[in-house]
Amino acid sequence: MAEHVHDCIVVGAGPAGAAAALQLARDGLDVVIFERGKRPGEKNVMSGVLVTRKLHALVADYRERAPLQRCITEETVCILAEDGVLSLPALRNYRRLSYTHPGFTVFRSDFDSWFAQEAVNAGAELITATLVEDLMWQDGRAAGVRTRRGDLRARVVIGADGVNSTVAEKSGLRSRPQPAEVSLIVRQVLDLPAEQIEERFALQPGEGVILQFNGLVCGPTGVKKPYYTELYTNRDSLSLTAEASLDVVRACGVPLYDVLSARERHPYIARLIRGAELREYQAHLIPWGGVQDLSCLYGDGVLLAGDAGKFTTQDGVGSWTAMASGAAAARTVKQACERGDFSEATLAVYRDFLDEEGLIETQREARQAWLHGSWKWRTLTQHPDRLFSIARRYSDNWLLEKEQMPHSMWGEFYHSLVKPVAPWYVRWPLGLAAWIDTRRWRRQQMWK
């Protein structure tokens, strides 16, 4: 490769990289994308929904052209107990179909290829099957990338290479990911004919559901930790995932594939995936907890976008934050190119563009949720068994006969021995004590 200096090199052709390259190519800059897979997306795993709130701004007619699976019209949050499930009120919103930017299930191997192709069509150059191993440095700032197939020079490098970002680590902006700040997802894709999916989940063609299951897993040492499971519908397959932060897996001691197998066995989930055939097993690491320090996102001649910059939301959705941060990085690069200056001080305008995309606020929320736990996370993950037992008592009440409601030991003593014989001045105080004791005791029973 000759000593031609490109305007910008984007490392990674995922949503962040492709969004940045698309924007830069449209602005008429000379941009090259590096992808380590043979085609974009084949190293990537979709672990949730593609939120299109940025995509529709980048590609207006994406709904006609993008390889989308199903539009999410229903999401249900479920609490998973050992012998049953409690679904919280499901949000079924059929108007979502007419939203300007609803959520979709996608296969990243299809979607990322399409999205990167959009960037190529706009004028970007895509180099696949090439791993960027290091950065080139000149005068203390990044001046290109090094690969096995040769070096390539550029005025600025955008690192969009995922959570294990080579660019972030080689440029010294970040060290290896910390176990508490990343979350591991294992997922399996299960083939099931489209008609059966639509019948089983009460859907029209093109509509899809997500079911979130929150449940505790008890480890070999007796430690109980929350693991997250999701089931969602693709066009003619289902995806079942198990997710937990690495810290949780480490403390609990149960591997995620065992949790996934246990979830497959769970009576409720087993009924939903009955007859589906295992197609593929996947694993992927995602950031969790948002961006800590905004100054870690840019250095001399380097910008980080997407998972590499640890952009995420408090619900762990990274698709739109990736695209939005990619677009913000592209605007930063464009401005730096106009000024001809790629120092850290000039690239600091990245913060302003991120703020305009609404990402600073999102990261703050994500950080808060990570530090203190969002109310949703707390209620759903800390006490699933309790919530389930309360609901069971509530809905099984008509099955229990009134006399069967037992008293505490003091209550039994009072009702069988004291109450029939004792005079009023004994009955009243002992009766009050027995009543209080029984209430306390029943409340204790409820948690068992």
């Binding site: 096995r148 290896r176 591991l184 591997p255 694993a283 992927h284």
Partner: protein, 91 residues
Amino acid sequence: METRLDAKLATLSSKPDPEPHIVVQTELCLACEERPCTIVCPADLYWWGNGQMVHNCEGCLECGSCRAVCPHGAISWRYPCGQYGVRYRRG
């Protein structure tokens, strides 16, 4: 319909990098009591056998959990070079 890990892994095609992409300094593992890599790896590539750490580079899903979780920084892990490694058809 529960599937075991080996059945799950059998659904994947992967071409190992001729130059190993995971290098473990096994002498550091001797002092490690927790060995979280044996728990977190989603392809079960790490195991403790005969008093030493054994690992396999083939069949890696390229998530990088082992490197993130290792308390002694004993695992040097990189992505397999272009064309090698796992290929998801339904990512």
